[in-house]
């Protein structure tokens, strides 16, 4: 069926070559597969095939209690598990009508922004690797490792953190967070700066990224883009600013936007967002230090979570864009239906449109810059 649709590409002269990329291919992140039809080196038609990492997360959610589902959310976007955990917990809290203590919210902000930095570091590093620039990867990954050290030492896990609980967080920040953050902060800036020096004004980098797979803001909105990919097209939309949740209305930070929506803009947005995230962590940590040491970390939550009958949708700004959880409760201790709205799902469905008429090497660059994570794409 797939092949049939690829072959019927319309204006075919019969000289096209069909290339299968993936699902197991070093340049396809995770288990993605694209069937591309090429005319020489130009992509005529690309058909992404997804579902190779489908684990039935939504079905699983209907058979687990509300707390048991938190570790499952780790496995969505595994580059920034904490952002998923917090997003899910906030959706359940909205369903229950819980008010989370301020100190817990500050810890969530600090951890989520650290996760955002880690996610963006991976993206920029891998984008470089895919385009033949290997060195920035090391500069960034070393610092990401330091962020993971903080996570590990907060709750014992590096990648799949299972951070927080419904109604708050499980533990206070450890005592030496201050020393660790002081050490990490300048190194993060240094890594961003070094990457910037190596890539941004590099002739080869510019040639490979500027104007590649550019997208107009109208198209991006019609396709449901959110997050950095939408902002790269010049639309200033960030849920942290537009629909502030948690404590985000108290921080001052900028929302960087691009112009052309090409690979270069998507890269630049990430670079600038990392610095904005550091700004947010600084402010959140300063507010945290003013809190009383014995301030509560959990709201009053019953032992067994049984939300009232109803359905809610709650969205947060994950590193990739709008991550939303729709939860329908029938009054029992398990959700009746959980729908996850992964940000890269909407972005990736526009992939055929994005790469049409581009070179096959740019297809890889485009895929890399969209930050498609198979875990949240296939669920």
């Amino acid at each position: 069926m797939v092949n049939e649709c690829v072959v019927n590409a319309g204006h075919s002269t019969g000289d096209y070559v069909t290339i299968n990329i993936g699902p197991s291919h070093p340049a396809m992140h995770g288990t993605l597969r694209v069937i591309a039809q090429t005319d020489g080196e130009t992509v005529v038609k690309a058909d992404p095939e997804i579902g190779y990492l489908h684990r039935g997360v939504e079905k699983l959610g209907e058979h687990l209690t509300y707390h048991q589902f938190i570790p499952i959310t780790d496995r969505l976007n595994y580059c920034s598990a904490i952002a998923n955990n917090v997003s899910y917990e906030m959706a359940v809290e909205k369903l229950m009508g819980l008010e989370v203590p301020e100190k817990a919210q500050l810890i969530r902000v600090i951890m989520t922004e650290l996760a955002r930095i880690a996610d963006h570091q991976v993206l920029v590093g891998i984008l470089g690797v895919d385009l033949g620039a290997f060195t920035p990867f090391f500069y960034l990954i070393i610092q990401r490792e330091e962020i993971y050290e903080i996570f590990e030492w907060y709750n014992g896990a590096r990648l799949t953190n299972t951070f927080g609980r419904i109604g708050g967080v499980e533990a206070d920040l450890p005592d030496d967070f201050d020393a660790r953050w002081r050490e990490l902060r300048p190194n993060l800036f240094k890594a961003i700066d070094e990457t910037d020096k190596l890539l941004t004004h590099n002739r080869i980098w510019m040639d490979r990224t500027i104007g590649v797979t550019a997208f107009s803001p109208e198209d991006a909105l019609a396709w449901g883009f959110t997050g950095p990919c939408l902002r790269a097209c010049g639309v200033k939309r960030d849920l942290r600013k537009d629909e502030p949740y948690g404590l985000y209305d108290r921080f001052t930070f900028d929302v960087p936007i691009g112009k052309n929506g090409d690979v270069f803009d998507r890269y630049m947005i990430r670079m600038k967002e990392m610095e904005e995230s550091i700004k947010i962590i600084d402010q959140a940590y300063a507010m945290y230090q003013e809190m009383a040491p014995d301030a509560p970390l959990m709201a009053k939550v019953p032992k067994v979570i049984k939300p009232p009958v109803g359905e809610v949708y709650h969205a947060t700004e994950a590193p990739n864009g709008e991550l939303g959880f729709f939860i329908k409760s029938d009054g029992s201790d398990k959700p009746y239906r959980i729908k996850i709205r992964p940000p890269c799902y909407m972005v990736y469905q526009a992939f055929p449109e994005l790469v049409k008429g581009e070179m096959i090497a740019d297809l890889i660059a485009c895929l890399s810059s969209l930050n498609v994570i198979a875990g949240e794409l296939d669920r």
Binding site: K59, W223, V309, Y313, R341
Partner: protein
Amino acid sequence: MTMDLLKGVSNCLGPLVVASGEFRGDVTVEVPKARIAEVLARLRDDPNLAYDFLVDLFGVDNLDLYEKAAKPKKKTEGEGDAAEEPKPAGPPPPRFEVIYLLLSLSTNRRLHVKVRVPEDDLSVPSVTGLWKAATWPEREVYDMFGIRFPGHPDLRRLLMWDEFPAHPLRKDYPLEGRGEERILRYE
């Protein structure tokens, strides 16, 4: 604020609104399924509402929901007003739902639009003509629930493989599957 919103929506849609409700600030309106494309186009083009962004669309299977709700009478009701699930007086409501999540980029307001899909007529008009963003979500609903979307340009399975014989997110499909991976042979 939610009252304003409901008023604006009912002004725009008039008698097309079958039911409406509000829970924790999320406003849901139910409309007849045959006219969903018209409803969404009206909501999008209305200058006051301007729901110009389709966040997501997905299906819900309410197979055992009504039986469950009818049984425990003595249980204390939650505080939710549960406007979307009134006690079935006559025949039970249709089994499936498709929910559209809309967002207005200018006012940052959200709206859930719901259509009910009976088991004997599993089709909902496609909205891919309004938003291209509906392409994959409609394919996924077809894949997971078996609901067809007439007007969709390319309605294939999305996550499961093409020969998969069931619709796994239906409530009567077991969590552990039916052993399809052992029955089917790969070429």
